[in-house]
Symmetry: C2
Subunit: 196 residues, 2 copies
DNA sequence: ACCGTGGATGTCAGTCACTGCCATCACTTA
DNA sequence: TAAGTGATGGCAGTGACTGACATCCACGGT
């Protein structure tokens, strides 16, 4: 027997999700969340550095998935190939069963600038983490930064499409499509006359 | 004679910059800033929605510069050409004289996660603004989003390089170089064998 | 010269996020 | 059995931010 119920952060997150969903983020205090699972505000802040962080708990997992995709790639893979592999590896963190939950979570974030800000920052953090991993593989500094940022961009767009109303394609499909489009778009020529 | 000294937000910003630089961001209260220019905390928050915002006051100007670059482009310009023009147009907001000030400002931001978060969010906001402008020109939705994100990415990287120690190239030069590199990097082939 | 209006400011009380410090309370280990 | 440990509670305090209301004086009109 454990002295305390296990999975405290998970229970807090679940409670927060429900309260934010019904009352709204700003109308829910940290105390509300804590009390709804029989804990105190003080304990809430021992598990989360921030009130916002409760919504982002567990995100490290998919950052890891990106990194594993890179680690598993052959040594001679080009930067963009690494991006593709990282994306496909991350895709397994977004099975169709998670769509519904992701949607409701995203609804909450969409209604609060402070949460959107945190989300932007997490995406930026992903990019710098990936850039480090690429550099560690010997990829040139600028190329690593650009490839990592591209990965984060594609991920962000793919995710919002995956969440989108009526969308049925898998995350992996969407991500691949967006990545292809990026490559087609940014591919040279830079020159004056672009193709229609 | 004006009833109050004009340029209140500018004076507050200047004071904030100095206080943040000497004492540090967290060790400086909004009251400190306001009092140092003879105002009250309440007035500070009438000019800035946030304590952080005082550091980002005036940023709208260079977002405008991006938009003007897009507006001035020929109607048949490709998305990536629009990105290039937006970047070059924005470059005029970063003359060499501003380097020193930008550097000290960036030092402050680098020492505070909350400020970095705001910065990430501003960059994300730039991307969505640019995407809207591209869509308004008839650019396809996904292409517009990707191009806009690319512009923001290139801008971010170029800016940090421009600020970098010992850097002497102009912002325009750097931005062009980074953009070229992005095009070379993301250009196809996607295929399995990448080039060394 | 007088009046009224409006925009920028001041005052004040209040809420809430977040922190530091110390106590508690089992359960574990020596 | 005694000391150790990890998660929690209690509490006081700071600082960011808000809403409501008062003030103040240049300015335009009369």
């Amino acid at each position: 027997m454990a002295r305390w119920e296990p999975g405290t952060p998970e229970r807090l997150q679940q409670a927060a999700l429900e309260l934010f969903g019904s009352r709204g983020y700003e109308q829910t205090t940290a105390t509300d969340i804590a009390q709804s699972v029989g804990l105190t505000e003080r304990t809430f802040f021992r598990h989360f550095s921030d009130k916002r962080e409760v919504l982002f708990y567990g995100q490290d997992a998919f950052v890891q998935a990106f990194l594993e995709g890179i680690a598993a790639a052959p040594p001679d893979a080009s930067p963009m190939e690494l991006v593709g592999r990282a994306l496909q590896s991350a895709a397994r963190m977004f099975p169709d069963e998670r769509r519904a939950r992701s949607r409701t979570r995203q609804l909450i974030i969409a209604q609060n600038p402070a949460l959107q800000e945190r989300e932007s920052h997490k995406l930026a953090g992903l990019a710098t983490t990936l850039a480090d991993a690429l550099r560690a593989r010997g990829v040139d500094d600028l190329a690593a930064t650009l490839a990592a940022e591209s990965a984060a961009t594609v991920f962000g767009i793919a995710f919002s499409q995956w969440i989108g109303k009526g969308e049925t394609r898998s995350f992996a499909e969407i991500a691949e499509h967006v990545l292809r489009e990026l490559q087609q778009l940014t591919g040279r020529p830079t020159g004056s006359r672009g193709r229609r």
